[in-house]
Symmetry: C2
Subunit: 396 residues, 2 copies
């Protein structure tokens, strides 16, 4: 099991460490996304060079392909993907529901996260009835890969995650979209709470001593539901908490939701925010007391040649811009990542223009390094009481 210690606080921001069986996660920490057991284009040696400390994989995706049985026979997710550091697995609740309700409403995040796979496979499962049917016992869904029908209960998900063997695992929740009504969100919330109890029971029964189980807070954009959910989930004795579901329609919504949620969670336990991305967001959520967050943005941006740069608008440049055609400087002056230490913008732009396979990899190295370096600065700032100044320096 992992343990958590808070070393310093500055207002609501916290700097600490999670001690896992596979090493220490200094918090606040970015969690790199390795949905299918690999961070896009980067091998573990690359990830170490970027300062990546912890990776989150996805139970839903790994169950569908290659299956937890194979991964278990290989000794679990750590040896499977050759990652020696801390690992998390998300339950896949978000993915199941974003392929169902989210898609019906046209708001699923999944389509932007895996455009190729979903774009390709959606056609092949059309006309086969609804993708997702949720009931008290669990959720039935069709594989986005081959249309085959699967049924997940909260217990089943815990069992899969135990077999995958990540250090921190998440319960199955029923996700709602920002377009769901108060009534629907309430009933999904109540079910998520009942599922939380069943998950805990199953987790205790399986007694996987090296793993920690995080509960998930739901409640959509509704204040009383977020308050109710955080209070309830905090009372159950989870090892930590994830804030899930819709975070509203704007940044202000997200800030409000965190303000309603975090004060009700046991302050001694780590809090993970599922899926945020912008640099501005990182400062805002850390300021409110978030200890970890995962984010596909550094990988996604890298694929299209969008690169983090502190001095640019929204902290990013598009390397395909013709302004960089003859630019002999690195992506970011002073950046110590492998890419910036070795390559010019002009060469990177050339690789992207030529669709060379090396391009997204060099970009991913930079983007991950950039976020990890920022997190390191944020952690020292909190320890020295300089977080709010650092935030001002960055965001103005």
């Amino acid at each position: 099991m992992s343990s958590f210690r808070i070393l310093s606080t500055e207002s609501r921001a916290r700097a600490g460490k999670i001690i896992t069986p596979h090493g220490i996660i200094d918090t606040p920490s970015y969690v790199a996304v390795g949905t299918l057991g690999a961070v896009r284009g980067l091998c573990p040696a690359d990830l170490e060079l970027t300062g990546t400390r912890v990776i989150i994989a996805n139970t839903y995706h790994l169950h569908l392909r290659p299956g937890e049985g194979l991964i278990e026979r290989m000794g679990g997710l750590h040896p499977f993907m050759r990652w020696k550091g801390p690992l998390m697995t998300d339950s896949g609740g978000f993915q199941i529901f974003s392929l169902g309700a989210g898609r019906e409403q046209g708001v699923g995040k999944i389509a932007s996260v895996f455009p190729e796979q979903t774009g390709l496979k959606q056609r092949s499962i059309e006309g086969k009835g609804p993708l997702v049917k949720v009931g008290e016992d669990g959720v039935e869904f069709r594989s986005y890969l081959d249309g085959s029908v699967h049924f997940f209960t909260p217990e089943h998900v815990i069992e899969i995650e135990t077999r995958l063997g990540a250090d921190i695992i998440l319960v199955l929740d029923e996700c709602t979209s920002p377009l769901h009504s108060y009534g629907h969100t309430l009933s999904a919330l109540n079910r998520t709470h009942r599922w939380a109890l069943r998950s805990l029971e199953k987790f205790d029964e399986l007694s996987a001593p090296s793993q920690s189980l995080f509960g998930i807070v739901q409640g959509g954009p509704y204040r009383d539901l977020r308050e109710k959910s955080s209070t309830f989930i905090s009372s159950l004795g989870f090892d930590g908490y994830a804030i899930g579901g819709s975070l509203g329609k704007s940044k202000e919504d997200m800030h409000r939701i965190l303000d309603w949620t975090l004060p009700n969670l046991d302050p001694e336990k780590p809090r993970h925010l599922l899926g945020i991305g912008e640099i501005e967001d990182i400062f805002e959520v850390v300021e409110r007391g978030i200890d970890m967050f995962d984010c596909i943005t550094p990988s996604l941006m890298a694929r299209t040649g969008t690169l983090f740069n502190r001095r640019s608008k929204r902290f990013r440049i598009n390397i395909l811009n013709s302004a960089f055609r003859e630019d002999l400087s690195p992506i970011e002056e002073g950046c110590a990542c492998y890419t910036c230490m070795n390559y010019t913008k002009a060469y990177l732009r050339h690789l992207f223009m030529a669709k060379e396979l090396l391009a997204p990899r060099l970009a991913a190295i930079h983007n991950h390094y950039f976020v990890e370096a920022l997190m390191k600065d944020i952690r020292s700032a909190i320890r020295q009481g300089g977080f709010s100044r650092l935030k001002r320096d960055w965001l103005g």
Copy 2:
């Protein structure tokens, strides 16, 4: 300028070294293909781990994108692509003509080498007249990227290659396809010879003391033309030779062509074979006295999950084969490459099935390592008089 020393011979096979301004190439050597200034998916650090010693880039492609001007302003191809070892540039004669005559006859190799680019761009330049017009002065061609018209003379190519700054550069030649008549092949050969003289003259005028210039032997599948061309090109004082153009329609044709060609070349100079690939071919051409060859196969195979394995049919496996679904062994038992030292076939198959960006990279590392390890074995075998035994061990 580079120098060449032969250390041992076994029958016609030679083991030696080419000492270039950027390090030593032990021969016989595989030359990795980095057409656009990058070997597919691999950075220089990866390449060093695979044992790659020398890379060949392409003047035609680099002229079109990003242009030799930019590369020259960045200090040349070495700093541009961050490769510290020996570099070659092919003239692009093959590419120009395979986009013209080769395409008209449906036999150009280019379509399989760059299916995306050519497939995509071919449409946009349709109906704009012939792609290639060759005259005594040089060759006019349309860019496969945007249809713009370019004109290469032999002198122009030497000038571009001087600006790119590779250690070994190749003259412009007029390539023929296996379907060209004797008459056409003869007249292309005569022009290639006149262009060789002009190239040498231009090279002397530019006096780039660090560069070596290789002539190219043509002659298609015709014995007297190959004999004529090799004798003539050998008489001109080039620093080395490349064997270009069509090598016939079968492996036997290729062997015959080499047998007609190599005896007429100055034995003190290195001989490069342009574009061969199979493991069997490597033994056959080295046996006949080839010192270097370039080959896109390890990269191309890696893209589709085809991996070298000594104990399999044609020395390759397709990792997508369902037989490997649960295979916990490395691609090749005993292989010391990064991929085999770290990953199972089951994980690699999973990455390929999931179209993870990491997949072709790990595959490319193995495939390049495999060929480099074979070349190392071939070199020691020649030095110890055991090449023919090694060839038997491999090919039976």
